[in-house]
């Protein structure tokens, strides 16, 4: 099993400044799956609890001179502490060396210890080099790698309708305040571009409605529902006509997932999976200096749906 690559400046920026801070909000540790073509960071893919996050990069987006080999179709998977990885990358950047190399090694702290695996990050400058060892779990055996890959493949389906969230920071600010009012957030997505957010308790009912958002996928005309009705009546009518989906999610989990604004996406979308399976947030990134989607980077979050207010 071997892995060695050189981190590009852009790759370090993507990870250390943008993606690792966002993923740390979901959980302290995550899986990393390295394949011959992709580098994938995954949260909660093997369980159904908590926010599932999948950040996928082509190897060229982060690395130069990428070399990988293993007995499992040249795939390697392990778990890493995101704070440690982030700190190591940050201090490597401050070294301002010529080359930032990362590789998988096994080392022993003392001669009597058994060798344990690390991701070693080596920053080589003109006069000095800094080596940082980030501890990782034992790379996963074939069975577990297959399991991870299967879970990843299952998570590729997108909802039939997605609406574009116009201002992610404003949505984050709104949902953070709704968190103080109640624990369960009802999210409604319609095919004519309306996004409904609603919190309801015995003492209060509070909601926000985003109208006429950009729609990706299956769409309907906004005249399909009676515009004279109020917000909740319109959503009910749309749902009855099959033009909308409504699910309930844990508002704290939704707030965590919205911390993805740290990744600085250029477009954010929200949709509900078929059969109301989960709430999906999808993010797109533009190639720097253009408005073309950079297909080498993708980020999805999936929030588990609450049934009747409980998981």
């Amino acid at each position: 099993m071997k892995f060695r690559a050189v981190l590009t400046d852009y790759g370090v920026n993507l990870l250390e400044r943008r993606f690792l801070p966002a993923l740390e909000k979901i959980g302290k540790t995550c899986h990393i799956l390295l394949t011959p073509h992709y580098v994938i960071l995954l949260h909660n893919v093997l369980n159904t609890v908590g926010v599932q996050a999948i950040a996928q990069f082509t190897k060229e987006a982060i690395f130069d001179d990428y070399r990988i080999s293993s007995q499992y179709d040249d795939r390697i998977a392990f778990t890493v502490d995101l704070a440690l990885l982030s700190r190591a990358l940050k201090s490597s950047v401050s070294m301002d060396g010529d080359l930032l190399q990362i590789k998988l090694v096994k080392k022993r702290a003392k001669i009597t210890d058994t060798p344990t695996p690390y991701l070693t990050i080596e920053s080589k400058g003109f006069r000095s080099a800094v080596v940082q060892d980030v501890p990782i779990t034992q790379p996963m055996p074939r069975r577990e790698v297959e399991e991870l890959q299967a879970a990843l493949d299952m998570a590729q389906d997108l909802p039939r309708t997605l609406v574009q969230v116009p201002n992610l920071l404003q949505l984050t600010s709104l949902v953070e305040r709704l968190k103080n009012v109640g624990e369960v957030l009802e999210v409604g997505v319609t095919q004519y571009g309306d996004l409904h957010l609603h919190v309801s308790t015995t003492l209060v009912s509070i909601g926000s409605e985003f109208r006429s958002l950009r729609v990706l996928g299956v769409r309907a005309d906004s005249t399909s529902v009676d515009a004279t009705l109020n917000s909740s009546e319109r959503l009910r009518e749309a749902r009855d006509k099959g033009l909308a989906s409504v699910v309930k999610v844990d508002v704290k989990q939704f707030v965590k997932s919205l911390q993805c604004h740290h990744t600085k996406p250029d477009a954010s979308f929200c949709g509900i999976a078929p059969n109301d399976g989960c709430l999906l947030m999808m993010f797109q990134y533009f190639i720097p200096g253009t408005r073309q989607t950079d297909n080498s980077i993708s980020l999805h979050y999936r929030l588990p749906v609450l049934l009747d207010g409980i998981t």
Partner: protein
């Protein structure tokens, strides 16, 4: 007025008003929020809204939000509507409306079809925010401390200082862990705060016309009373720091029987805060907050008027 979907006015009375800057109302209500769960009594009249919060029958706060602070204020009633509402819920709901950008007004209506308080705001990005808050039938009428304290008498002992100075002094007085005595002296003209607990702490505010500390001072004869620290603390602890930076004054008056009245002014800008403009260039009005604190009757050494 179009009261679609609202209850028949009957004897209840109706209000529909538009508020330009929700943050001002949030700041005013936050100032009287000294516990996690509090119920407030809301009275609606032709003059505006009054929110009253009471605790332990010896601490009361009132927030006066006059009708001039609203863009429009449409009120009709035979008797003044009075209802209870969760203060914390009201503030948290209003806070979600402050996350909106732009200068569209919050619409507040009472009553809804089920006697709810209804809030609605459509912001500059055409996002529509709605809230319906359940109201409660009040179980009692709050005590009228302003009458009991006889604060309109000819010469109550009183003084006014910057709110930040008062808050700092009260924060420091936590240290002795005891009741705090407030003594207003005519000669020399000064105010003395004192705590004697597991240590002694005395803070003296000397009055001088030339110094910056006092905004006003009035005292004919020495007055001194003790107050429980937690009650005193409630009068300043929750004033938002953005309000303290405005440098407005707080006035303390000791009335009949030692009832302490603490008054604050909360700035309410007519449009959401624009940091590029000082508040002299935009319209700034004020909301009044009053706290009433009963003297500490448990303390047998509690001095009185000399």
């Amino acid at each position: 007025m179009n009261w679609d979907n609202d209850s028949d006015s009957g004897e209840v009375g109706r209000l529909r008003c538009l508020l330009d800057n929700v943050q001002g109302l949030v700041d005013a209500l936050t100032s009287v929020r000294w516990k996690k769960q509090q119920d407030a009594l809301c009275e609606i009249s032709e003059h505006g809204l009054v929110f009253t919060v009471e605790e332990w029958s010896c601490l009361q706060a009132r927030v006066y939000f006059r009708k001039e602070l609203f863009r429009t204020y449409e009120y009709e009633a035979r008797a003044r509507p009075l209802f209870g509402v969760s203060l914390n819920l009201l503030v948290d709901c209003l806070n979600t409306f402050t996350s909106s950008s732009g200068s569209t007004a919050l619409e507040l209506r009472y009553p809804g079809f089920d006697m709810q308080l209804m809030l609605k705001l459509i912001d500059a990005n055409n996002i529509c925010h709605n809230a319906e808050i359940r109201t409660l039938v009040p179980s009692s009428v709050p005590r009228d401390f302003s009458v009991d304290g006889n604060f309109d008498s000819v010469s109550p002992a009183c003084f006014a200082v910057k709110s930040s100075s008062l808050k700092e002094a009260i924060d420091d007085l936590e240290w002795p862990g005891s009741s705090i005595s407030i003594k207003i002296c005519p000669d020399p003209q000064q105010v003395i705060f004192k705590g004697e607990g597991h240590g002694d702490l005395q803070i003296v505010f000397p009055y001088s016309v030339h110094a910056d500390l006092f905004i006003a001072f009035q005292c004919d004869r020495e007055v001194s009373y003790k107050y429980k620290y937690k009650h005193l603390r409630a009068t300043t602890a929750n004033i938002p720091s953005s309000i303290l930076k405005d440098n407005r004054g707080s006035k303390l008056t000791i009335g009949r029987g030692g009832i302490l009245k603490v008054q604050h002014l909360i700035s309410v800008r007519q449009s959401p805060m624009d940091h590029n403009h000082s508040y002299q260039t935009q319209g700034v009005r004020v909301s009044y907050i009053e706290f009433f604190v009963m003297p500490d009757e448990d303390d047998p050494d509690s001095p009185r008027v000399s």
